[in-house]
Amino acid sequence: MDRKEDLEATGDRFRDLILRDPRAHDEIRRGRAVFLEEVERRNASSGLPRGAARQRRRWLPIVVSASVAAGVAAFFVVTRPVTFQIGEARPGQVGSVIEATDGRTVPVSFSEGSTLSLHDGGRIRVLSLKRGDTRVLVEDGVVDASIAHRGGAPTRWQFEVGAYHVTVNGTRFRMAFHGADDRSLRVSTEEGSVTVSGGCLEAAKTVSAGEILEASCPAREVPAPDDVPAAEAALAPTPDLAAKAMRTERWRELLAAGRLLEGLRAAERANFDQVCRTATAKELLALADAGRFFGPSKRAVAALVALRARFPGSAVAGTAAFTLGRIVFEKEHDYSQAASWFETYLREQPSGPLMGDAFGRLMEARLRAGDTLRARTTAEQYLGRFPAGPYSAEARGILGR
């Protein structure tokens, strides 16, 4: 082991072990499926967010300590425009939604040294980033804030939390706001102090280090996003039309913001059938994704069926056929029906990016449906075209090779 030749021989043996790892085939196939699905999604819906699968992958859990934040806040930063980034590298944009999903904590780091940690389920927007004056809207969830003092320069941070205003006097505190439930606010301060005003509070209250403030307003004071129709009905001169208009636009906005689950729920409230008749192809794909990821799958089926009916012959219609095949294969276990959908995809998109997968799944669906003869035919065709493809092992198995 003292010679480089020994190390090289060791490396060669381990390389072979890794390449011959029995899980390699499965990893490669699963990677291929998500990769091609992402390619397809990009081609079909470049204007929409990448979807939950992509979002899941690279949201990074970070806890940034106050000491790090303070260290970053060097004096020269004061003279620069304040910027912020989400996670490790994604530049933040004023007004855009920042969400924490999948059990992750999302850090938001500001160039002047302050940090916010958004806990799972939280949703915020940075509203303003003027020098020395930052405003953040907390729509929901738990936020840990660590505000940096920039070389003694005055720093003003304001948080709009439902009907409340939280003005920062100190450095470290936590806010927990349940906008969708009881609209309660809980502020606990670790260092310094914050001032809370508005909402149901008769007067502004200062929450100093070690103190906790809890406040809750009746729901009528500030309507939750989900209650927007009711709130609009109370305020608008033509309540029915206004509420309907709000519902109509709400799902569209949510889907465009990448909030698939909420978009789906809003679409259901706004009459899902009607939504399927008016949504664009991209929106229908997004609704189908939401149905697949969050259920029920019947929503995904309805969206995909509508997409095929309204955009026949398009690439997205082919994708819809493939996805319908996956749904009935994986959720309904109707392999004959699944085979029909995969055939449809291959007929409509013979050179589509999902062609290889459709071929492999067709083979598998036919086998599971008991159509051994056609499964063998498909397996032979598959091997003829993809002798080393991701389904080649199954194809050989079907053929008994």
């Binding site: 082991m1 003292d2 480089k4 190390l7 060791t10 490396g11 381990f14 390389r15 072990l17 890794i18 011959r20 790892d21 899980r23 390699a24 990893e27 490669i28 990677g31 291929r32 998500v34 990769f35 091609l36 992402e38 390619v39 081609n43 899941r56 992958r57 690279r58 990074l60 859990p61 806890v63 490790e88 019947k298 089926v301 309805a302 069926v305 095929r308 009916a309 026949p312 056929a321 009935v328 309904e332 109707d334 029906q337 029909s340 959908w341 055939e343 449809t344 291959l346 007929r347 013979p350 050179s351 589509g352 990016p353 062609m355 290889g356 071929f359 993809f386 080393a388 493809g389 991701p390």
Partner: protein
């Protein structure tokens, strides 16, 4: 699928679905991509429909080897494969030396693997007070000598700093040249050599401390049960 569920779908399908179009399926001649790397890159840049799949199929083993050898067993490997190839698609227009496509992909795989290691570290740190959760998930049991050896290898590599681990893997598992490996790590050749030297020393020390592992390396494929 039950009759009820199917009828629900059929009700939704107020169009001519696939079942209403019986008849032989003329499976098309698929677009099997033919061409060298230069043609593949050109096809990727042009948005050729079959290029992405061909790109993946051609290089996935190479990329997986990089990820798997640096990371060891990881349940996220499929997602990481996707990430490497998506990054590559996003940047393929900037690729200048088409004949070095594999090296270029190695650089991206190294980048993604290192990011994954950092994520793991943070997870461990976050779970500091839950010792039972700090252990990486056991994705495989030592059901064979080979897996046992692989597990030992990754235990050794896990003890190395990221830079040294990456250097060792690229040099000895990938067997790429020092220059290529340095480029993949985005560092100078001299720095890479220093990292590699440290990694070699650590590896040798770790192997010496594992007699069974040493025996496996010396004797071939069989573990020898430790005699008590």
């Amino acid at each position: 699928m039950g009759t009820g569920a199917r009828s629900k779908i059929d009700k939704l399908a107020k169009f001519r679905g696939p079942r209403s179009r019986p008849g032989p399926v003329h499976l098309p001649t698929p677009l099997t991509f033919v061409g060298d790397d230069a043609a593949l890159v050109a096809a990727l840049r042009a948005g050729h429909p079959g290029a992405a799949a061909a790109f993946y199929d051609r290089y996935v083993e190479h990329v997986r080897l990089t990820l798997r050898s640096i990371l060891g067993p990881d349940e996220d490997i499929p997602d990481l494969l996707q990430e490497v190839f998506i990054r590559a698609l996003d940047r393929v227009r900037n690729l200048r030396e088409v004949d070095r496509l594999a090296s270029w992909l190695t650089t991206m795989a190294v980048f993604v693997a290192r990011a994954q290691i950092r994520i793991r570290s943070r997870r461990r740190w976050l779970r500091f007070f839950s010792p039972e959760r700090t252990r990486p998930p056991q994705l495989e049991q030592p059901s064979s000598d080979a897996r046992r050896a692989l597990r030992e290898l990754h235990a050794i590599l896990d003890q190395m700093p990221i830079d040294e681990r990456t250097a060792f893997v690229l040099r000895y598992l990938h067997r790429i040249t020092l220059l290529e490996a340095a480029e993949a790590c985005e560092t100078s050749l001299a720095t890479f050599k220093r990292r590699l030297a440290r990694a070699e020393a650590r590896f040798r020390d770790a192997v010496r401390a594992r007699p069974e592992f040493t025996q496996w390396l010396d004797e071939g494929t069989r573990w020898t049960e430790k005699k008590t």
